[in-house]
Every structure is written in structure tokens, then in C-alpha cells.
Symmetry: C2
């Protein structure tokens, strides 16, 4: 577990200042105190005071998503959630769940047994057993990237795929591209379906050609590119939008293996803007999801549901980050 | 202006308890203190302490919507917003605006000149001059029932029309209705377009007949019913969904004038659940928008934008309130 000294080192301040922040002393600024607490939450440091008995319990269930290190997609989502939950006097447990766990134990049972007053779900797929149970649960529950119709106890938080995909396509059009493909993530995901629809809507609106073959489903991993890049290149595609940055990294590799230069011959755009994006060669143009803010907004949506304000949907704006993987279409 | 005694009377507590609440005394509960402050905000009572100099300024601009009394649609939206804004240390000005004012003064100019750090817009129509300016403003702005694409400084708050309309149609289907019309509000409104699309989607999904003639646009006033009810009845419609409760009140009147009983011959459903709904004869089945919560969520969305969290959309769940204006279809 982290020590006070670790927190002091990370923030570049003295140990005594960290102590003041943790103990609520009045002679440091509110801003600094909050930084100390946020960092303590991030590093897993807790004091007796921070674990007070009157704190209510929440759980973040993680299925099918990496979140252990800052490089991984889920890390900042969970961190943002925990930081603001802490300020509002909640204790948060993070629990990875498997499909077999979901078959063994009912969602409501698990929540009640453990005294959780609400939960945040990240990484769930459409066929997950608990997804059916979310339709009828009356425990406040927020889903990242999944939507449940008509249940007032369940909310949805996500980034607007429609604006993100359209931003990317408009950027490519301005560079002269017309033959643009979408190499999507896995088919059993609400967000993949949403991005596919966003691609269809945007290509239609801009009068660009597309077909079933220009929008294949893959998986949310780099290796997924192997199965599709050859086919897309042979169709004369000049730009590939990818379901996430990992897929985009695989696409860049596959293009190079086949003697195509990125971005001179093929433009590539990712989705998410995980830290990897800046380290690729070339650095990746991508649609950014602000994951810290997604986590924070996820908490506030859950907090609203717990307080009987039935928010069904909170959407954040994406932001197109221009780097070096897109260029003028070869003509 | 209200006095301390007015607040005491409204809450049924003593004048000295109100004073304690206003002055932040520690020997009353937090819950009671908050009720005192909420009521003070509602009644327009302020103390010197409540008007502190460090409070930031927000403006609610109202166009084309009644909000002066609790019976009117806008009242609770503005009240909910002001109550939570007050707790977060903002001062709120409420300003009715006309189309001519919007032509005279630019939105950004007006905001900067008056030192407002953000604004909440209610009742704006698509052709309003400022609607164009919201596309490019970089002042944090939240619109009730209007959406601006791709501007990260502008958010949208509303109730999910799609679920509300579908709930109403499912309820009517369960009563045996198939010929269901939508008497919509005015055509120059995003929310009217959204409800029209919701009607089309739901009727299509449930395999029910509809046409251009079964979904006319009107206006958001009772009188609007006069122009349409005769035609809908002559088409053999057995149930009428209305764009709001005022239209529904007009529809009930018009049906009766033509010798049709509500609900025995014609079922009628409103939208909003304003206080009038319970007073109609028969009391109105309607799709409820929780306007206090809309106001509160509008504030929190604006507060997020001011703090650089770019929320594009916050949607609340509607709730179908069953009263006496719907019944089994006559067969």
C-alpha cells in the first residue's frame, strides 16, 4: 500500500503538507487538499477518518476490460469515478466479474448481500447474463456504454459516437478521401452497433460510398486487423476508421507489412485516445473519449439515481485529436 | 418581497427556526436548513449573507414559455434550477427575451456585458436568432429541449420523448386501441419533431396504421384542438396523444362539443403532467416530465460545462401517469 511519502513524491510537496490535506487542516488551500485526497484515492492510501462508518457502499463491476494500469482503457474511468465518489462520502469496491460468476449469482442478490446502494458497470457485452437482470432491477445502476430501456433505476453514460465518427469522416473528406472504411470492434456490443450506425449516417449524409464490406466487425484488440486489412486494401480503401486505438495500432502494422505507408498511402484514425496513441509510428489521429470525465459523470449519474432523479442518459462530447496518421488522399 | 414570517407559514415552522436556517445555525437539521433555504429561494427572500460578493452569476433566459405561477409549465423548471444553483453559490437572474431583443443584442455580448458565467435557455424555437449563435458560442450554455451539434460549450437537457410516447402507445394498445393519432405542438420546435419521430417509430414497431393525416402539427395551446379534432374523429381515430396537457384539455372540450364521450368513445393522453391535468373532467392520463428535476439537472449540466466537463446531453425518464381519460377501445 502507498505511504504518505509516496503521495508527497507524486505531487512534489512535503510530507507534512500531505498530512494536512489528509487531516482536513485549514491552512492549506481547498484545491491542494483536493489534489492530496484525489492522489490518495488513486494510490489506495486510506486513513481511519477516510474509512468512516457512515460511508455508503458502491461497487464498480468490470467485465472484459483492462483497467490495472494508466495505459489501459478502464483505468481512468474507474479512477475518475472513485475520486468523486470519495468526496461525496461513498466507499467504492472494484470487482472483476466473469460470465460464470453472473450465472452463479443474481445481480440483486449480490448487491443486497454486500450492502451496496448502487453500482457502475463497465465493459459488459449484450449477451452477459446480468444485462437481462438490469431490465427489472430496482437498485440504482449506471452502465458505461450500455442502455436499458424504460427502467427508471438504470442510467447510461457514454461518449457521443455519432459526433465522433462524423468529425473523423469530415476530417478525412477535407483531406480528399472518399473511400473510407470502418473496422469495427466486436459484434456483440451496443457501442459497436452505435458506431456502425454512426458510420452509415455520416457516409450517407456526405454522399460517400459504403457497403457491408466497408464496415466489417472485428474485435477490440490489435490482432483483429490481420483478418481485415488485406481485404480493405484490395477494395481500394484510402482511409480506415477503427473501433479503438488498439485496432488502429494493428492496422498500421498490417499496412506496413503489405508495403503501404501510413499516412502517405493510407490514413488511419483510432477511437479513445489511450496513452498508446502518441507512441505509435506515426502518432495516431484519434477520437478522444475523456475517460476521467466519463468516470466522474458516471458517478454523478449514479448519485442522481440514488437520490431518485431518474437520469436515463448522460452523453459526453468526443474530441478529434489530430496527429500524424492522416494525410491528403493519394490521387 | 416575502418576509421571514411568510417562509415560516409556508413550511409550518416558527419564525425563529426560519432564522436559524437562514443564518446557518448548527442546532437544526441539515434537511430542515435546506428546506428553509429552498423555500427562501422560491419566495424570493434573500439576506445579505445570501447575496455574498463571491457568488458567480448565471442567467436563465425564457422565450415563449409561461413560468410565473406554479400552475405554469416553466415554473418548476426554473425553481429547481435556482434552488440547486443557490446551494452551489451562484446568483441567478431570470430574464424573458423576445425575438426582437435577440436581433438587437448578440448573445455573447449580453452575457459578457452582464458578467454571467453561464446560461440556461428555456422555450427557444428553432428559428430564434440566438439559436444560430449557440452553434459558435464559447460561453457555457444549457438548452432545455434544444440540441446544438458539436459545440462542446453547449449542452442539452430534456425528457426522453421516445420512451414517453411508446409508453403511451403501449398503454393504448393494451386497451385495444389501434387507430391512434398524435396531435402535436408547433412545427418550429425540436421537441415537436422528436415526438413526431417517436410516434412514427413506435407505431411502426407495433405494426399500427398511421399517415401524415394522423400526426398533424398544431400549437402548444388548448385552442389548437379546434382545428384538428373534427378531422381526426371523422377518420375513425379512437385515441389521441397530445403534444402537451393544454392541447389535451382542448381535445377533451372539442370531443364533448361533438357528442363524443371521453374516455368511453375517445381516449386522450397528454404530455407534461402540469397541475391542470388532475383538474380536467375526466382527470388526464399523461406522460409526466418531472420539471423540478429537469431544472436541477439543467443546473448540474451547466455546472459541469463551467468546470470543463463537456456533457452534450442529459436525458430524464418520463413516467406515464394513469388517470381517467383512457379506457377500453369501443368495439
Amino acid at each position: 500500500m502507498a505511504t504518505i511519502k509516496d503521495i508527497a513524491n507524486k505531487l512534489g510537496i512535503s510530507v507534512s503538507t500531505v498530512s494536512k490535506g489528509l487531516n482536513g487542516a485549514s491552512d492549506i488551500s481547498e484545491h491542494l487538499r483536493q489534489s492530496v485526497l484525489d492522489t490518495a484515492v488513486e494510490m489506495g492510501y486510506t486513513t481511519k477518518q477516510m474509512r468512516g462508518k457512515d460511508r455508503r457502499k458502491l461497487c464498480i463491476f468490470v467485465e472484459n476490460m483492462d483497467y490495472e494500469t494508466p495505459e489501459q482503457f478502464g483505468y481512468d474511468i474507474i479512477l475518475g469515478f472513485r475520486q468523486v465518489a470519495f468526496r461525496e462520502n461513498y466507499d467504492v469496491t472494484v470487482l472483476p466479474v466473469t460470465p460464470s460468476f453472473q450465472s452463479t449469482e443474481k445481480y440483486d442478490t449480490h448487491m443486497l448481500k454486500n450492502g451496496y446502494v448502487g453500482a457502475f458497470m463497465v465493459g459488459f457485452a449484450l449477451q452477459d447474463e446480468w444485462m437481462k437482470q438490469f431490465i427489472t432491477t430496482n437498485i440504482p445502476t449506471v452502465l458505461f456504454d450500455n442502455y436499458i430501456k424504460k427502467n427508471p433505476y438504470v442510467g447510461y453514460i457514454g461518449t457521443d459516437s455519432f459526433e465522433g465518427i462524423d468529425d473523423a469522416i469530415v476530417h478525412l473528406m477535407e483531406l480528399g478521401h472518399r473511400r473510407i472504411a470502418l473496422l469495427n470492434g466486436s459484434a456483440n456490443s451496443m457501442i459497436s452497433e452505435q458506431r456502425r450506425q454512426a458510420y452509415i449516417d455520416s457516409m450517407t449524409a456526405h454522399d460517400l460510398p459504403f457497403s457491408e464490406a466497408t464496415m466489417p466487425y472485428g474485435y477490440y484488440v490489435a490482432d483483429s486487423a490481420k483478418d481485415h486489412v488485406g481485404n480493405l486494401l484490395s477494395m481500394g480503401i484510402s482511409a480506415i476508421l477503427c473501433g479503438n486505438d488498439l485496432i488502429a495500432s494493428g492496422v498500421i502494422t498490417e499496412c506496413k507489412l503489405r508495403g503501404y505507408r501510413v499516412p502517405e498511402d493510407i490514413s488511419v484514425i483510432g477511437f479513445d485516445d489511450i496513452p498508446l496513441s502518441t507512441k505509435l509510428n506515426p502518432p495516431l489521429t484519434t477520437v478522444r473519449q475523456d475517460r476521467i470525465e466519463l468516470g466522474k459523470s458516471g458517478f454523478y449519474t449514479l448519485h442522481s439515481l440514488i437520490n431518485h432523479v431518474s437520469i436515463s442518459k448522460t452523453m459526453l462530447r468526443p474530441q478529434l485529436i489530430l496527429r500524424k496518421s492522416t494525410a491528403k488522399a493519394f490521387s
